[in-house]
């Protein structure tokens, strides 16, 4: 389901496996409830095979702060999936004009926003958090994995969710060791 680049990744109260599981549950709940899309867990090998067939991607990143925890969540998904999610979310009729790229980017940003928020609420429900406005960029392939990468399939298309954490000392404003 996921790979963790940094063996020293620390999340308050959670092991990496718990954090990854919470992230998948967040992805699944967002995909199913708001986008009527099927989310299935993936593995690195099948993700790699599926990703090689995808010509264009969108990467939506949301930065967060939750108490001492700060970082970002990036959702990387195929452009074809993004337009499918757009249609599902908005109820767009196939006969309607194609949506402008800016609207699709907005939608992908909101997807990432919901995944990040749903994950943070699962990780630490007693703490509130702040989220940045999402930034969305096109890409030709998935980038380097974050501190934790979850790979999954949404509507049978490959998706990667990367969590990047700021060092706790830096997040607290203390001098870096």
């Amino acid at each position: 389901m996921s790979s963790t680049n940094s063996p020293t990744t620390t999340l308050p109260k959670l092991t990496d496996a718990e954090a990854a599981s919470a992230m998948f549950q967040a992805v699944r709940s967002v995909a199913e409830q708001s986008f009527f899309a099927v989310a299935e867990p993936g593995d690195d090998r099948s993700f790699g095979v599926a990703a090689a067939k995808v010509p264009r991607w969108l990467v939506a990143t949301v930065r967060f702060e939750q108490g001492p925890l700060a970082g970002s969540v990036s959702c990387t998904l195929p452009e074809a999936l993004a337009t499918g999610l757009f249609d599902a979310f908005t109820g767009r009729d196939p006969g309607d004009p194609e949506p402008k790229p800016t609207l699709v980017h907005d939608l992908v940003g909101e997807f990432s926003n919901m995944v990040c928020g749903a994950w943070l609420t699962r990780v630490e429900s007693s703490r509130t958090f702040t989220l940045s406005h999402p930034s969305v960029e096109p890409a030709l392939k998935p980038g380097v994995a974050g501190d934790m990468r979850l790979v999954a399939a949404i509507d049978d298309l490959p998706v990667a969710v990367d969590l990047r954490l700021q060092p706790l000392a830096r997040a607290n404003g203390a001098p870096r060791a």
Partner: protein, 174 residues
């Protein structure tokens, strides 16, 4: 406890029992009719009812999208959610159903495990596909009896839109 057969007893009322199978749908505005479908495993039954027009309908579909098998979709559009649900509504409109008054219920979508113990997740996919199609059509889902691991039998009364679900062990009224 009354059985489903006793609850909806066409022998007593003289009404029709309209039995539908996979890929089929039925619509009626005859108050005594009962629409029935059996062996709802991973399939979904989409039930619609307009209380003012007195119209009820049911579709029993098996797969989420016609693109899975376009040839079969041409021959049996009711097998797929995206081609079957519009047909159900079209037939219901001809009987006087009003979309904004339609009460829509989804039943089925069980996860039927294979002998190996694995599940294809078809039940979940079907449920999501039905919700997707309905949302695109601007129709809310009023209720659902979805999931689990047991096949269901479903009875829909045209007179009042009431439903009874039987999973082999228990009955449940919706």
């Amino acid at each position: 406890m009354r059985s489903a057969a006793e609850s909806f007893a066409p022998e007593l009322t003289g009404a029709r029992r309209l039995v539908i199978g996979i890929g089929e749908f039925a619509v009626s505005n005859r108050p005594g009719d009962v629409i029935v479908t059996h062996a709802l495993g991973s399939c979904i039954a989409v039930c619609i009812f307009d209380p003012r027009a007195g119209v009820a309908g049911m579709l029993h579909f098996m797969l989420p999208e016609a693109s899975i098998n376009p040839e079969r979709a041409r021959q049996q559009p009711g097998v797929f959610a995206d081609t079957g649900i519009p047909l159900l509504f079209e037939a219901a409109y001809q009987h006087g159903l009003n979309k904004r008054r339609a009460i829509v219920t989804l039943v089925g979508g069980a996860e039927m495990t294979q002998q190996s113990g694995a599940s294809f997740g078809t039940g979940r996919r079907n449920a999501l596909a039905a919700k997707n199609v309905l949302w695109r059509a601007g129709v809310f889902v009023a209720g659902q009896e979805i999931g689990g691991n047991d096949a269901r039998t479903l009875y829909l009364s045209v007179a009042d839109g009431k439903m009874e679900v039987h999973n082999g062990q228990t009955y449940k009224e919706l």
